[in-house]
Symmetry: C2
Subunit: 295 residues, 2 copies
C-alpha cells in the first residue's frame, strides 16, 4: 500500500480503473466493508482520509472527532487498499482559498436545515477530491442518505465523469448503525440510542404490512426516540429529499437525534422493486463491531 499526501502524487500511482472511497478516517467495520465492496470494482483502490473542517457546523464536534493515523494505516493495508491519501489541511484548502461549491434542492431539508453550512462543506471537499484525484468511481454509504443525494447532484451538475456507487448502511447485530461517532457514546447512552434504529425497523415492518402514510411512519419513530432530543424525523423523497405525505415513490425515512453530546443520524431507504416498496434495512454484521464501539 502506498501512503500519499498530495493530489499529484496520488494520480501518479494509478493503473486501470480508479475507485475512490472518501472518508473522515477512524475506520470501523462499515468502512472496511465498503473497501471490500469497492475493491471488487476497480483496479486501483484509493481511500482518502481527511477530517474536513468546513463540513463541521459545530467546532467542538470537529475537535472531538476521533482520529488515529496508525490504526487507519494498519486497517487499510490489511484490506487491500492500494493508496491511502492522507492530505494535510493546506493540500485541500490552499492558503487564501475562497471557493465554495453549493448544491441547492436536495440539500435544503433535514441535515441542511439542522447543520448550517454542512452540505456546502461536503460538496466543496468532495469536488476537490474529484477534481484533484480524477477517479472513475466513487463510493458513498447510504448511512448518509441525503449526503449521497447532494453528491450525486454535484457530480451530475459539475459534469464529473465519475460513477457514484451507493454502499449499504452497515449495522451492528442489534441494528445500531455504525458511525465513527459511536465511540463517543457511553454504555448507557449506547443503550438509549438503540431506540433510533429500533424505531426505524418498526416503521419498516409497518411498510411491509402496507402502511403508506408518512405521519404514521414518522410517529412510530418519534415514539421510539421520545426520550432522546429529536432534530427531525422525516419521510422524504429520494429524488428531492423533501417531505412527502404518502409513500408513493422511492423514499427515505430519516431521523437525527442527540444522545447527550453525540448527534446521531440513521435512516431506512425505501426502494421500489417490481412495483413493491422495499425497505432497505442495510447490511447487518454477524458479530458486534470491535472498532466502532467504545471498549
Amino acid at each position: 500500500m502506498d501512503l500519499t499526501t498530495t493530489f499529484a502524487g496520488t494520480r501518479g500511482l494509478y493503473t486501470g480503473t480508479v475507485g475512490l472511497l472518501p472518508t473522515l478516517g477512524y475506520f470501523h467495520e462499515g468502512h472496511l466493508k465498503l473497501m471490500e465492496l469497492l475493491r471488487g470494482q476497480c483496479d486501483t483502490l484509493v481511500v482518502s482520509v481527511f477530517v474536513n473542517p468546513t463540513q463541521f457546523n459545530d467546532s467542538s464536534d470537529f475537535d472531538s472527532y476521533p482520529r488515529d493515523f496508525e490504526r487507519d494505516t494498519g486497517l487499510a493495508s490489511e484490506h487491500a487498499v492500494d493508496i491511502l491519501f492522507f492530505p494535510e489541511h493546506d493540500e485541500v484548502y490552499p492558503t487564501g482559498w475562497t471557493t465554495i461549491v453549493e448544491v441547492g434542492g436536495v440539500s435544503q431539508e433535514m441535515e441542511g436545515r439542522h447543520r448550517a453550512g454542512h452540505f456546502t462543506g461536503v460538496a466543496t471537499v468532495v469536488a476537490k477530491l474529484f477534481a484533484g484525484l480524477q477517479p472513475d468511481l466513487a463510493m458513498f454509504g447510504r448511512k448518509d442518505a441525503q449526503q449521497l443525494a447532494v453528491l450525486e447532484a454535484m457530480t451530475r451538475d459539475l459534469r464529473f465523469p465519475i460513477q457514484i456507487i451507493h454502499a449499504p448502511l452497515i449495522r451492528e447485530p442489534d441494528g445500531f448503525a455504525l458511525s465513527s461517532r459511536n465511540v463517543r457514546l457511553g454504555r448507557v447512552d449506547r443503550e438509549r440510542a438503540l431506540a433510533l434504529s429500533r424505531g426505524l425497523f418498526q416503521a419498516a415492518e409497518q411498510i411491509d404490512a402496507g402502511e403508506r402514510r408518512a405521519e404514521r411512519l414518522e410517529a412510530t419513530v418519534r415514539r421510539s426516540v421520545r426520550d432522546l432530543e429529536i432534530d427531525y424525523v422525516m419521510l422524504a423523497s429520494q429524488d428531492t429529499m423533501t417531505r412527502i405525505e404518502t409513500l408513493d415513490q422511492p423514499a427515505v425515512l430519516a431521523a437525527a437525534v442527540k444522545v447527550g453530546e453525540v448527534r446521531l443520524i440513521d435512516n431506512i431507504a425505501i426502494d421500489v422493486a417490481e412495483g413493491r416498496f422495499v425497505p432497505d434495512r442495510g447490511l447487518i454484521l454477524d458479530e458486534a463491531s470491535r472498532l466502532g464501539t467504545l471498549r
Copy 2:
C-alpha cells in the same frame, strides 16, 4: 477537425497534452490569435463554444450576444483546432441542476460589483468545462483581467490539475480592445468608445514616466471617457483585485463603460519585471480586424 457536442465524446478523441480555449463563440482575430498561441503548447487543441446564460446578468445582453455556428466552425478549422466542442444547453446544465461554484475575494470589486452573479456563472461553467473535459492547460485572455483572477482562484481552490495560461489582450491598430460585442457598436459609437483605450494608454505613459498614485492614473482614464457612462475606473492589485492607493505591486488599471446599449471593458495590466513597473498594452494587430468590427 472534429465537431463534438458531449463531454464524453470530446474526451474520447484526446491524444497527448490537451489544451482548452473556452469561448462564447463568434470568433474575432483575438480568439484566432489565442488559438495560435495555445496550438503551440499542446497536442490536442480543444476550443469550446458555449454562450453561457448564467454569466449574463442582463438577459437582453444574452439574447443579443452574437452567434454564428457556420462562421465559427470554418474559422476554427482554418486555425488548426482539433476539436470544436459545441454543447447544447442541457449537456452543460442538466435538467434539475442546482449546483453553483462561488469564488470570494477577487470576485468582489469591479465586475463583481456591477454585474451581480456574473462571476458565479463564469466560475460554475468553467468548473464544468474543467471537470467534464479534463484538459491539461487552459487559456484565458487578459482582456478579462478579473475573470482570469477568479478562474485562477477557482482552479487552485478546487485542485484542478490544470495549468492556466494568460493570453495577451488583442487590440486593433488604433488600440481598441477586441471583443465580440464590438460588432454591436455603430460607427459613431465605435469612435466615441475609442476614448477608453486611449485613456488607458495615456495612463500607461504616466506610469512609464513614474506616476504611482492611483488617483492620478484613474483621473486620466476618467477624463478620457467623460462623455461615456462610467461603471468604474480602478487601479487594483492583481493579487486581490481590490483597489490600491499606490502602484506598489503587480496591478491592473481597469475600466468599464457603457456606450449606448453596449457595455465595454478594457484594462492595462501593470506587471513587475526586474523591479520595474511595466504596463502591458497588449498585442496590437497590424491590420484592422475584419471579424470583430461592424462592416
